[in-house]
Symmetry: D2
């Protein structure tokens, strides 16, 4: 069992490979690399039970889009990021049908606010299509849900989403959440897409009931942005890199469990990436140019 | 049909009585007055179909607590208001069972923010009871839902609440909303409680699907605070009071439909009354003193 | 003395003309009409003391840009509104020098939030020019100040701005505030620009110390958006339009003083017009296209 | 020069003592311990130039109130914390005269929001005293200023405060800010008071111009709450505790400079401690019980 915690399939694979004991080949996992709009993309497929066990994640496809160069703000960095995220997401989603987009996380906690913030950039169309079907012909019906925080609702996100899915009957759920990375360098520099659903609150809070096809009855696609590194994971990495051979995992975990590492610019970074995610979802679901999204969302 | 719009049963009765043509007695409606904690209370019971037709509101009991003197801020004005609202509400509610409290309205629109703001003062206990049943023995399970605004969710409040009720299975729903009064003097000076459910958005927005026992399958209690006066209603009243005999209702409605009247202090008043409502709900549902609520909510 | 309250010079002139007693010509006031980017513009010049007394406003130029058709959302409505506001403002301002932009009003009160909201769309450059003079060559130094609310600062807006002006020494102050109109039709449908300074809080709150060249020592330009109608003014208008000859002004004022009339869509409208104002300021001060503003503000 | 960064005088002293090379006595620094309301208090006096150089902080008194047990939420934990902070602060402040309370930091960044949040719990009285001197006789005049963020104002906090001080002419400035601690255990578990002024943004952002008697012309008292640990400092500590002898400080600094460590509960913790700070200021400045503050602030 890893002390090093990550929500990224890419990093789970890295951790498996780094692990000193692994002399065997990693079976049931396939990784491929490509580039989209100037941003590197890594695809990790967990193919079977062996892959699931090795990486501790459910079977499915995980795309990691590396947005490190986003922050250099070179030509069209925003538009390229939207198209990169949107294009990969579009390839993952059913080609038609309505979507319920769920923003997980705590809007009042900056590194956990990706979900609710991204929803501000998602085009909500379900009510418009039902009120003005002609004017909005060609749009897919999209609705949204902000789960809020357990302490202020008393209801688990999975319960609330399940209730809403039963009413709204979307063809798919898209769930947006903040994630934990294992490497500082990936914090606010990566977007992970997957077709496997999500366990809310992995990034900042506690583990909760999963949102996936089993619990919701419809396919669930996850869009995650790593915004924190687990403090114990960071500590373990620091020690190993410095040649400390025997890391007392339990002690590190105990001392660091209440802490997380995030960036000093987290407010600006979360705001920018949330917009990339929201626009990427519009790109994947609707047949619109970015300028049209600007006009519709203003 | 009245041009004069009100969400208060008390005022619907007044309007019926003012109406020049009424020389007959109002059948199917009973009104009684009392005083609680220094605040006047009027109870209007709509007893049957005749009452429903006359007042344009569903059968049931409506309590109006007159908080006009709240703003004089005399001794214990807040505590007395909480106990007055809480005591009337308690008498209306089932003596046991869990509650889902729904805050209707738009948190970003000051006169419409009563619902979401009041929830900040409601003790949310459902998750605590399930995680720590011993420590929270004696509390009733309470969960909360902020419906948000149709434009940002794509889902009608009634749909979303119905889905949540199916999951959470509360014994009752309490729905908090901003209302429209017919008189400026009642704006931010009244709380109306009823056992009849509610049609969201009466106060500020458009009419929507009802939240009541028929649509949700559990009893629905409404807690409303008038925060606006319909601009056309105000205009009609002004004209009549000045002796103008023939008011062109259609024209007034047309000219004023897009407008509402509210107080210059609406931000402070909505904040204060939302706290009264939240604490009043705690008073009705939990066996707690106000100081204990302060401690638990801080 | 008018009971009818307005912050628009255009309407002060209308009121003077409507007044039954005026059979003489209005001296010391000049009004001219034009059109810019499809939006009608009325310029009222108060030329001397006679004009000041007649209209109850200080000598200077007042431009009212009529944005009624903005809400039809026809082609380029936003860009045209920005250029219309920006072009008129640019003609009013000194051609060079730094600016301090002051957002007056209460961010927590929707109809009073124009000032603070508009600042979110203003390019703040003073610190950038001082840190990276080469990269930002060509930009004018712009700083911003949100005055907040007297109850939460204890300091009058004019005092706080005066202190800041002494430190920052801008060549001019631009002050943004919500205004009161006399006509519902102008609420959220007009922007008034003037070179006369401003008395904060006219729109929603109480009168305060003025921000103008006398009190601040630098020229003060006001940008106002009417978001409310005084409830007593509305009542008086309603009565007059219905032929009531003798309006008891004192009574109306007494009954309605605590109330204001605003639109049901005030949250969306204030958000949209605040963006027009912020971008209009950028247009007037910086040499930028709207798309460049989008990129710099995102 | 320490790589280990801290804003706490207490920790600067610890670091000096830990430093392997120090075999001499620390001159010019005096530390004393006591207990107040059940919370341990450490006082560090930097007496002269030797102390200043050794600890890298200006001459003056620094009180650290250890609120670790606050989170056990035992009897009266909040009231005791308010009295502990308030009593120490009162002893530090001039016995009379008006105060300007400055909330430094970014309200939109949870670990940096202590300053603006604390102001929500400070009684603002200056305008009340001037409007109703009789009713508020006995209160000290208190005003408040939220500096905001350089990127949205273009003005350094020190500049803006200096301008306001010149206008308002307070007898003293109290400056509230988030701090950086060197130890995770002190994050959200400590309040530091000092009579030395403050350099804003030490905790989260970049170093800025100081707020102190030299720059403002009046005594400046600082109230700080550590909410983050510098990521490089944490890394260095982890390595040393594990026996790594040679820490490459430059590399650590480079890798970790963009990161900070904070608690997973930072939103709740910052909210609670901001209230302690605000109430503590009221305790120090006004002659009020905590219940009276509750009533006045509600």
């Amino acid at each position: 069992m890893f002390i090093k915690r990550t929500d990224l399939a890419l990093e789970a694979r890295e951790l498996w490979q780094e692990s000193a004991e692994r002399t065997t080949r990693l079976m049931g996992v396939k990784a491929t690399k490509s580039k989209l709009e100037g941003y590197p993309v890594t695809r990790v497929d967990i193919l079977d039970h062996r892959g699931e066990e090795a990486l501790g994640k459910p079977q499915g496809s995980y795309f990691t889009i590396d947005l490190t160069t986003f922050w250099q703000r070179k030509a069209d960095f925003f538009e390229r990021a939207v198209r990169a995220v949107g294009t990969e997401l579009k390839a993952l989603l059913p080609v038609e049908g309505s979507a319920l987009v769920v923003g997980l996380g705590n809007a009042a906690m900056t590194p956990d606010a990706v979900g609710p913030l991204a929803l501000d950039s998602v085009l909500i169309t379900r009510h418009l299509l039902s009120a003005m079907p002609k004017q909005f012909a060609g749009f897919r019906p999209v609705s949204a849900f902000r789960t809020g925080v357990l302490g202020t609702t008393g209801v688990e996100s999975a319960e609330a989403v399940r209730g809403l899915v039963a009413e709204v009957q979307p063809a798919m759920v898209l769930a947006i959440d903040a994630l934990a990375s294992r490497r500082c360098g990936r914090v606010c520099a990566t977007v992970q897409l997957s077709d496997t659903g999500i366990i809310p609150g992995s990034g900042v809070g506690n583990h909760r009931a999963a949102l996936n096809r089993e619990t919701l009855g419809v396919p669930v696609f996850a869009i995650g942005v790593p915004t924190v590194v687990d403090s114990a994971t960071l500590a373990a990495d620091i020690l190993e890199e410095s040649g400390v051979e025997k890391v007392d995992e339990e002690r590190l975990r105990g001392e660091h469990d209440a802490f997380m590492v995030t960036t000093r610019d987290i407010d600006q970074q979360v705001r920018d990436l949330s917009k990339v995610v929201g626009y990427g979802i519009n790109w994947a679901l609707q047949d619109l140019e970015i300028e049209e999204m600007n006009a519709l969302l203003s």
